[in-house]
Amino acid sequence: MNDNILEIENLHVRFSTFDGLFSAVNNVSLNLGYNESIGIIGESGCGKSTLAFTVMRYLATNAQVEGAIRFKGINLLENSEKEMESVRGNRIAMVFQNPYSSLNPSLTIGFQLDEVGMHHQKLSKSQARKATIEALEMMNLGDPKGIVRRYPHQVSGGIQQRICIAMALLCKPDLMILDEPTTALDVTTEAVILDSIAELRDTLKMSMIYISHDIGVINKVSENIVVMYSGEIVESGPKKQIFENPVHPYTRALINCMPRGGVVKEKTKLNTIAGYVKRRGVDEGGCPFADRCDKKNDTCISKYGTKKIGEHHYAACDRAYAEDIPDKLKVRITPIARKKDPDFDSERDLLKVEDLHKIYGNKRKVYAVNGIEFSVKPHSILGIVGESGCGKSTTGHMISGLFPPSKGRIIFGDTDISIGWNKRDKETLKNIQLIFQNPGRSLNPSHTVEKIIGRTMQKLANINNAKERREKIIDILRKVDLGKEYLEKKPRQLSGGEQQRVAIARSLSISPSLIVCDEPTSALDVSVQASVLNLLNDLQVDTHVAYLFISHDLNVINYLSDYIMVMYAGKIAEYGKRDEVMENSHHPYTEALLSAVPEVDPTKQKDIIELEGMLPDPAKKIKGCPFAGRCHKQVGEICVKEYPPMVQLTEDHYYFCHIKP
């Protein structure tokens, strides 16, 4: 018997579109042994999902497939639709990115899971239900008998995803494909799910393909890594070798551009990859990465092909450490020294927030922000971190004036600005700018870049002369590394990173004193994220603007912030100087959050603190500590009954908990 469960041989997938034929997967060969798990990593548009969909034969009608995919020796590409039915979901199972769109909202969870057993294994209804309960138990879901009666919307996103995985497990498949199953989830939830996936892999002896853009995630679940770029496998091998000795320049750049634990802006500048993933036409030859590669030379087109590097380690290029071209990645670029601003006065607060509340809705109230107090020092970066639903964006939006607070005060300089945009004066509007999460949505798709930036200048900086304005726009575009040719472009002609640069340019064009950045990099790929973070940092050093930087990614926050504020369920959990919070965290939630961040270095794996349960219902007013229900360090009744007092550690470092230091 063959020792590979899945063999992909010279697979090509092409899509024919209005813009012509383009290649999504190009000459991919891949072997997956029994009980082996591989992780496929790459940025969006690199063909990872297309590869998975091709294995499942889920492709759209405009796809053309060439090559062979042998599953246990049978070529799936030659199977009829009928034959595929007995493979799909039965022998090969797949878990998708969004659990809420893979579950049917109008059927109970039990019904949907029973169907799988009844259809594929011809079980009776009661047998199927038994199998369902077993599968749910395998995913460590407490009370599976209660869950089967519920509808998908009645459980949290993390549980939904675990249900999807349980569904994939029902037929005891030989191969499981997971396509970014935790990308849409919070880090603490992600950590729990990754743990159970790793456990399953060991107990059930399944083969597994795990797709992700995050090396940290892949490290937790796979032994071997496959790096894809623009539809091709550029490197593959055991994770340790890939991490310690990346041979392909792309792999190396990818590992280096992620802000890892401990990397901070004062010491290192993030490495970036110029440009972005481009669609490839069918007849384009040579290395797909060549146009973004620092190490490119004339062999990139002619002598391109996969080489064996070591045992099980293959790469399409071995120039990652080539010395004929100076190594940009080796030099740790030291960031520009921070100039001291003569006007800087750290005693004075730029922004002060007092007892801020936001309650949405009239009849059914939602308590989004429940009384927080903090201040932003001039010329500093305050990072707000927390999971979805913790009120961090609401806070940012109130400060930038999208809506007024329900209670409490926002004081900017000397003026009270606890009012909405329609009541704020021009000066305040100019001084506080907001950068949104999704640049594609925050730039008007029908306006040109010139109009987008120019209108803000005209409105808030009173530059009415079109010629003068144009010069200033060109100037500001240069600051965000965009050329003059962008003036006439419309947002959809730009890549995600370029769009975000335009949004940053718009905010900066009127020299504000505070920019609220609401997850500005979370919609971007890691290589683009790195360049945007570098840019934001450089601009801050340059212009002395203060940022209120909101993110769910602790590594990003750690990299960029001077101060960190951890939020949970509309309350502050911990606040302090970056190093104090990161190295000497006191709140149990901060600890859990820190432990859940996936580690990029496979040799440095840590124990995670698993958080069970979900966020408290935001429609209820909480009397005790909002974190009490999930806390691993709960001290007793007092946690539920009484709101924890503020514990002041140093002048700038405090947290809210009943546990004393």
């Binding site: 999208l402 509007l429 700018q433 907001l434 949104f436 999460q437 949505r441 925050s442 808030l460």
Partner: protein
């Protein structure tokens, strides 16, 4: 635009639709001068002539008037009314729908209930009643009345697309730089809603042709001597057994134009969805 022609090449149906529309446009502009009979001329020697007889390409009616000439001449009035109606109802619809959707609250509720009331009355009945009361059926009054009957539909579509755009972040961005409501509505939002609104406007074009023809058929449409396709059908109904062509050809004219515009409207919506 490039995509428009790319899709057009792949869709023979849309090509047929556009060809029919172009045919009627040419007929309306240049047609009357190319036909040897005028629309009111009564060839009393050749009443109810069959198509092709005595130089009457599509025959004559009971008074000996040339059917072709009357259809071609009638296309002028019907296209004028339909075009103006679709423009008016769309513009008024945008104004009403945008202000209701943008400001929301009580204004929106009042708008919705008002539109519900107007929609509860079939547009045809509504137009008939108003035309009957006014007793005037000129092109101008017909246009205004049919427009009023269509406003609920266009206003609702405009309100709907505004609501989806209103929650976009670029609108928030415009707010916090202190733009006024009119600017946000018409400079920021309007260009991004043009797709669905254009589709609705072309659909309204087809509907208003039906409407004008129906009103003509019911006798409250354009009054003689202006030839009207609907009126021609009802006028010639008594002689349908002897001269079926006098009914058939005007009816075909209505059907061909309505179907062609509907096909075009579907096609436009398909192209515009891709644009988004």
């Amino acid at each position: 635009m490039k995509y428009f022609f790319y899709q057009l090449k792949k869709s023979p149906l849309a090509m047929v639709g556009i060809a029919i529309i172009v045919f009627w446009l040419i007929a309306a502009f240049a047609g009357p001068s190319m036909i040897s009979f005028t629309h009111t001329e009564m060839d009393s020697m050749n009443q109810m002539a069959a198509p092709g007889e005595y130089g009457h390409v599509l025959g004559t009616d009971s008074l000996g008037r040339d059917i072709l000439s009357r259809i071609v001449y009638g296309s002028r009035s019907i296209l004028t009314v339909a075009l103006l109606t679709s423009i008016f109802s769309t513009v008024v619809g945008i104004l009403l729908g945008f202000s209701a959707g943008y400001f929301g609250g009580r204004l929106d509720t009042a708008f919705l209930r008002g539109m519900d009331i107007l929609m509860a009355i079939p547009p045809l009945v509504l137009s008939m009643v108003i035309l009957g009361i006014l007793g005037d059926s000129s092109i101008a009054s017909l246009t205004i009345i049919v427009s009023i009957a269509f406003v609920p539909a266009t206003a609702r579509v405009s309100r709907g697309v505004l609501l989806t755009e209103k929650s976009q972040e670029y609108v928030s961005a415009a707010r916090i730089r202190g733009e006024n409501h009119l600017y946000i509505m018409f400079v920021e939002i309007l260009p991004n809603t043009m797709g669905p609104i254009i589709v609705e406007a072309t659909a309204r074009f087809a509907y208003s042709i039906m409407m004008v023809a129906s009103l003509g058929f019911l006798g409250v449409g354009l009054q003689p001597p202006t030839p009207d396709w609907g009126m021609m059908v009802i006028e010639n109904k008594p002689i349908i057994a002897q001269a079926p062509w006098a009914v058939l050809f005007p009816a075909l004219a209505i059907a061909s134009l309505v179907i062609a515009i509907s096909i075009f409207s579907d096609f436009v919506s398909k192209v515009l969805i891709h644009e988004r």
